[in-house]
C-alpha cells in the first residue's frame, strides 16, 4: 500500500472512466433515500406540538443547510490540494462544487425563509445565522464569478483557490452564530455529541434525508466534473479516442 490511491487522482482519464459508474450508483441511491426520507418526514413523522405541520420543512432545510457548509469546506480542501500538489482534478472539483454549493445555499435560504413566515411571522430577519448564510451564498457567487473572469483555467484556479480559503473564516461564524449571538434561529437540531432534542420518530427520517442529500450532492458534483474534464481535456488523445469510438 503506497501512495498509488492518491496519485491516481492526478489522471483525469482514470477519474473520467470510473466517475460514470460512481455517478450512477450515487444517483439511484440518492433517489431511493430521498423518496423514503421525504415521504416519511412529510406523512409519517408526528406533528410538532409547537410548530404544527410547518416544521416538516426541516426534512429539506436541515440537509441542504448542512450541505451548503460542507460543500464549502470540501471546496477549501480542494483549494489546498490544488496549491500543494498542483492536482488539476482538484480545480475541476472546485469549479463543480461552487455551482452545486450555491444551489444548496440558495435552497437553504429560501426554505428557511418560507419556514420563518408561519413560525416567526416574517420571511427574513437580519439575524446572525441568516446573515452569515447569506454571506456564504455571496462567497459562492464570488467564486463562480471570479472563474468566469479568467480565460486561462490555471490562473482561474489559483485566484478562486485564494478566495475560497479566505472565505473559510465564515464557516465557524455560521456554526456558532446561534450560540454567540441572540438569534431568532433555533439552535442546532442535531449534534454529534448529544442526544437529539426530538424523538426518534422525527430524527430518523431526517437522518435518511441528510444521507440522501449528501449522496445526491456527490452525484451532481461527479456529473458536472465529468463534463468539465472532457471539455478541458478536449485535445488529449484519450478523449479523441473515446469520442470517435462513441
Amino acid at each position: 500500500m503506497g501512495w498509488r490511491w492518491f496519485h491516481q487522482w492526478g489522471s483525469p482519464r482514470w477519474f473520467y472512466e470510473r466517475a460514470g459508474r460512481w455517478q450512477l450508483v450515487c444517483g439511484w441511491l440518492a433517489l431511493i433515500l430521498l423518496v423514503v426520507g421525504s415521504l416519511w418526514g412529510l406523512g409519517f413523522a408526528p406533528v410538532d406540538y409547537q410548530q404544527g405541520n410547518s416544521y416538516r420543512i426541516i426534512y429539506l432545510h436541515v440537509p441542504v443547510a448542512f450541505l451548503a457548509q460542507a460543500m464549502y469546506a470540501a471546496m477549501a480542501v480542494c483549494a489546498v490540494v490544488l496549491f500543494v500538489w498542483k492536482m488539476k482534478l482538484a480545480d475541476v472539483a472546485m469549479q463543480s462544487i461552487a455551482v452545486m454549493g450555491f444551489a444548496f445555499t440558495a435552497l437553504s435560504l429560501i426554505s428557511g425563509a418560507v419556514w420563518g413566515k408561519p413560525t416567526w411571522g416574517t420571511y427574513w430577519v437580519w439575524d446572525a445565522r441568516l446573515t452569515s448564510m447569506l454571506i456564504l451564498a455571496f462567497l459562492y457567487l464570488g467564486v463562480i464569478g471570479l472563474r468566469a473572469a479568467f480565460q486561462d483555467p490555471d490562473q482561474a484556479g489559483k485566484a478562486c483557490g485564494i478566495l475560497v480559503l479566505v472565505g473559510v473564516v465564515n464557516l465557524p461564524i455560521i456554526k456558532y452564530s446561534v450560540e454567540w449571538w441572540n438569534t431568532l434561529h433555533q439552535p442546532a437540531s442535531l449534534k454529534l455529541t448529544e442526544k437529539p432534542a426530538m424523538p426518534a420518530s422525527m430524527w430518523v427520517p431526517l437522518l435518511v434525508n441528510i444521507l440522501g442529500y449528501y449522496i445526491a450532492a456527490a452525484y451532481l458534483v461527479l456529473g458536472s466534473m465529468r463534463a468539465i474534464v472532457l471539455q478541458r481535456e478536449r485535445r488529449a488523445t484519450w478523449v479523441k479516442e473515446l469520442v470517435s469510438r462513441a
Binding site: 406523512g43 420543512i57 458536472s224 471539455q231 469520442v243
Partner: protein, 63 residues
C-alpha cells in the same frame, strides 16, 4: 410503529394550515435537483459534440 399522520390523502396534501408553505418548498427542491441533473447531462453532451467537431475539422485539414 409507522403511522400515517393524516386522516386522508386530501388532508395530507392540504397539510393544514401549513401545506401552502411546505409543498412548494419540496417542489422547489425537486426542481433544483432535477434541473442540475439536466444541466450536467447537457454540458456533457456539448463537450462530446465539441470534440467531435474538432475531430472532423482535423480530418478535413488532413485530406
Amino acid at each position: 410503529m409507522l403511522e400515517f399522520q393524516f386522516a386522508s390523502l386530501a388532508a395530507f396534501f392540504e397539510m393544514a394550515p401549513h401545506g401552502v408553505y411546505v409543498w412548494p418548498i419540496y417542489g422547489l427542491g425537486l426542481l433544483v435537483l432535477g434541473g442540475l441533473t439536466w444541466v450536467n447531462a447537457r454540458q456533457h453532451r456539448q463537450a462530446i459534440r465539441m470534440v467531435q467537431r474538432n475531430l472532423e475539422r482535423e480530418e478535413t485539414h488532413e485530406s
